[in-house]
Amino acid sequence: MMLRLIFMASWLAFVAACSEHIGEDSQGDSASPAQTQAPEPAPFEPPARPSATPSQARIDWQAARTDLASTPGTVAPESFQIQSGEQAPPVPVLLPTGIVSTASAGGAPRFVQLPDGYLATYPGADYDITVSGTNEVFDAAPGIGEGVADLSFAATVDGAMVSFTRYGAGYMVEFVCKGIEGGDGSACVEEAEALDVAQALVIAGSR
């Protein structure tokens, strides 16, 4: 009897010791895939090349507020929600006047406030107009000629664009022709007409 007890005790001690080691080993096994797996290759980083660097334009808010105060009334369509004060876009909001958008033209105007500025889109019968304003500005490549005139017109594949700077911010008015055929969109808006629209933009919001 005593012999059996001693034998069983020895056997139990043996099993306990082994199971403890198996536990350690299984922990080791669970860690081993991470140890044995080849590490994920780092994503390839292209070689350094000269790049355009962004900066934030300094906005002349005082001039914008003065202009806004002298503007007779709001020009923003009812569908727009332009915030005021510190919640306003980080550039003065310029919008076109006298734009009539109908449902048949493609819906109501849209206004999108962005971290760097805003977008305002006006669907039209012959062309859509989008006004973009931003305070993000990039340096150009060296040797790319003199700066542009106050208003710069350029034809595009699907319309035209007018670019200018005001209050320190960069603005662009895009004209996107509708129903164009042959890919030559510039036929829907003449340069003079596009410049007129851009010159008639009115300030509708400021910080």
Binding site: S10, A52, L114, E136, V137, D139, V157, D158
Partner: protein
């Protein structure tokens, strides 16, 4: 009985020790530890004794024993004790492994090196949009002229020709056009304001050709940056991201995956490569433009070529090989026939 008890206990102890020592090389576990047998409070072992000149009492100097001339007198270096500052000269350091030669993912001609005869490229280009996602999600892509390639208006031929689906890439920003489109980044006026990307393989080109227009969804076009899709025109999708605007053209406008006003993340699918062009003929390709608010010129079209090179390198996980233009462009210039309109 007592003897048996002792024997059984002994057997148990042997089993326990055997279990403790069951290991095999590379089993992933900790190596077996040999318990420290020395009492930590015990005095350290005595230092090694001085060498004995005549250990065997023979009266001979062991250094003159036969065979001793074979012993190298150079001190044996001990990697543990040969530390910097040691008086013993260290082993010569292993030379650093040579970096493996770069495996090029693709090749490209220099920015501004247009197809000969197709125009004058933009010099001194920058990466205007560093870090963008490549606009084609996965398919192989070839930046090249569409007008001056096979299937284009100048050369004629078949756009699905395998020769159109080869590297190196070619810049085609500033390529000659008859429409009055300009940017200060091009030395001449009447130019192409974007970069054309041919996508996929010749056989996929054939498949696309046989597929109804509205069902052409082989090659995904993705947002290159986080931003807002602010306009969807007849054949153009426009994405605003900070002071940049990206214009995508000739997608399958019947199968767009976004609406105007959608906010997208870089890599989100916008649509699929096709040849929608408001009814005008063109090839299967993506026309890609970058308009950027620049300090000197306001919002203006900038060359996308190097930004796309960099984005493709990142997508493919390897560098592009810059091809020496002076060597590689020994082909005769091809000018557009007089009176031909090139509006694309």
């Amino acid at each position: 009985m007592t003897l048996k008890t002792v024997l059984v206990a002994l057997a148990g102890c042997i089993l326990l020790s055997a279990c403790d020592a069951v290991r095999y090389p590379g089993d992933g576990g900790e190596p077996p530890r040999t318990p420290e047998t020395r009492d930590p409070d015990a005095p350290p072992p005595p230092p090694p004794t001085e060498p004995v000149t005549d250990p065997y009492g023979t009266g001979e100097d062991p250094s003159s024993a036969p065979g001793s001339e074979d012993i190298d007198p150079t001190p044996i270096s001990d990697p543990v004790t040969d530390m910097p500052g040691s008086t013993i000269d260290p082993q010569p350091a292993e030379p650093a492994p040579e970096p493996e030669p770069a495996e090029y993912a693709f090749s490209y001609f220099a920015p501004g090196a247009l197809t000969p005869g197709s125009g004058t490229g933009a010099p001194n280009q920058l990466v205007h949009a560093p870090g963008i996602t490549f606009p084609i999600r996965t398919a192989p892509t070839y930046l090249q002229t569409q007008v001056w390639a096979l299937g284009g208006r100048i050369l004629g031929g078949d756009e699905c020709d395998p020769s159109n689906y080869t590297y190196p890439w070619r810049d085609n920003f500033c390529e000659t056009r008859t429409s009055n489109r300009n940017t200060p980044f091009c030395p001449l006026g009447k130019v192409h304001l974007g970069q054309d990307l041919r996508v996929g393989t010749p056989s996929e080109c054939e498949v696309l050709r046989r597929t109804p227009e509205e069902d052409r969804t082989l090659h995904e076009v993705v947002a290159v940056e986080d931003g807002v899709v602010y306009e969807i025109a007849t054949f153009t999708v426009k994405l605003r991201s900070g002071g940049r605007i990206y214009r995508y053209m000739h997608l399958n406008m019947e199968a767009l995956q976004v609406d105007a006003g959608d906010t997208v993340q870089a890599g989100d699918v916008l649509g699929y490569v096709s040849k929608d062009f408001g009814g005008a003929p063109t090839t299967f390709h993506l026309h890609f433009e970058i308009i950027q608010n620049t300090e000197e010129h306001g919002w203006v079209h900038v060359p996308p070529y190097l930004s796309l090179v960099e984005a493709y390198e990142r997508r493919e996980g390897g560098p592009g090989e810059l091809i020496d233009t002076a060597v590689a462009t020994a082909s005769a210039p091809v000018f557009p026939p007089e009176g031909m309109e090139i509006i694309e």
